[in-house]
Symmetry: C2
Subunit: 219 residues, 2 copies
């Protein structure tokens, strides 16, 4: 059985939990709490010398980092990764967008607002991050005016990658009501077979609307 | 014939020129000078509403953005994109690393140092970017102590993606002499069949060493 090492309230790690649930595949989960420095332990650094989560570990010991690369590997052969070269690359286009133009603004804003003290110097970053995060959400809104899903006509790992931090963007100060197509898309993702909510994210009003049933794993 | 829209001195655009040369494939090149705002023209925004280069345009009009997604599409079926699922995802791992942990520091430092006036306010960014860029180069150096190439045992589009800005990192204030395995890898990339230098990059001492023959396209 594969092992996934990650922190449950990290969107990058949640991506993998969501994919595995939708694939109906079992896995071992190793919780790595980066707020307690567990990612810098000798054991974890032996897995990933960059000290970053998530990490995929195969039974034979092989290791992979980068959440979106892990999604690509785990989704191989399923409908969640198109086999057609154009469709697969379009899926990757939005996954690169997510890592370059979305996560560094929306996920970082969420981290600063939700997990750092109100008087932390990094709170000053928020004003700088805000317009770039809004730009990312606006690009998603425009895309959803043309196509139903980010990979094209079907739900794919591009949707999983983008859902992870978009559905808790309000925790980073982003008002999703301004992006009605994005809100509708979030609801359609949460209605996909096998969907599981992110653990430990009760602060997000949007996330609560998407999965109103109490999550037994929430912390 | 496909059309590539880009700016020749952009590393993200050069990636595609290098791949196409190594595949021996012809293409139309449309130069888009973002310093003159050509990426914000109505014609270009009709191709990519985010105003970003590079853009791939197929003969039938289909459009793709994100340099690394375009590399993935164009390299399909060639040795430069491994078909084995693990090897392909490991290749993508380093391409996501490039966009998340490398390009935002090394490419941005190069842009600020080389293309903005010495008294531009963004010069203050350099001190912030520097340690992250060094961390990326150090991660590459460690990897090259384990494997010869970024995708594994063969030259792949992960090497092309990382070469683009690494080989001109000195234009962003990074001393590559500190990373001897990276320097050796740069030389091995530049020795690959079909290699073409980046146009218009004579400021880089490292790039000059890699391709000492005068580039007739240099500007």
């Amino acid at each position: 059985m594969i092992t996934l090492h990650g922190m449950s309230w990290s969107g990058n790690c949640y991506k993998l939990q969501l994919l595995m649930a939708q694939l109906g595949r079992a896995y071992d989960w190793q919780e790595i709490d980066i707020t307690r420095g567990e990612n810098l332990s000798p054991e974890f650094l032996a897995l990933n010398d960059r000290g970053k989560v998530p990490v995929l570990q195969l039974e034979d010991g092989r290791i992979m980092a980068e959440s979106n690369a892990i999604l690509h590997y785990l989704a191989q052969g399923s409908e969640l990764l198109p086999s057609d070269p154009w469709a697969q690359a379009k899926t990757l286009q939005w996954m690169f967008f997510e890592q370059y133009s979305h996560e560094p603004y929306i996920a970082v804003s969420r981290f600063v607002m939700r997990f750092l003290p109100a008087d932390h110097p990094r709170q000053q970053q928020l004003a700088v991050l805000k317009p770039f995060g809004e730009e990312a959400l606006a690009a998603m809104e425009r895309h959803l005016g043309r196509l139903s899903w980010f990979g094209g006509h079907c739900y794919t790992i591009a949707d999983i990658a983008l859902f992870a931090y978009t559905h808790v963007a309000d925790e980073g100060g982003f008002e999703l009501d301004r992006y009605p197509r994005v809100l509708d898309w979030l609801r359609r993702v949460a209605a996909q077979p096998g969907f599981v909510p992110m653990r430990g994210s009760p602060a997000s009003a949007v996330a609560k609307q998407l999965h109103p049933v109490t999550d037994p794993h929430s912390s």
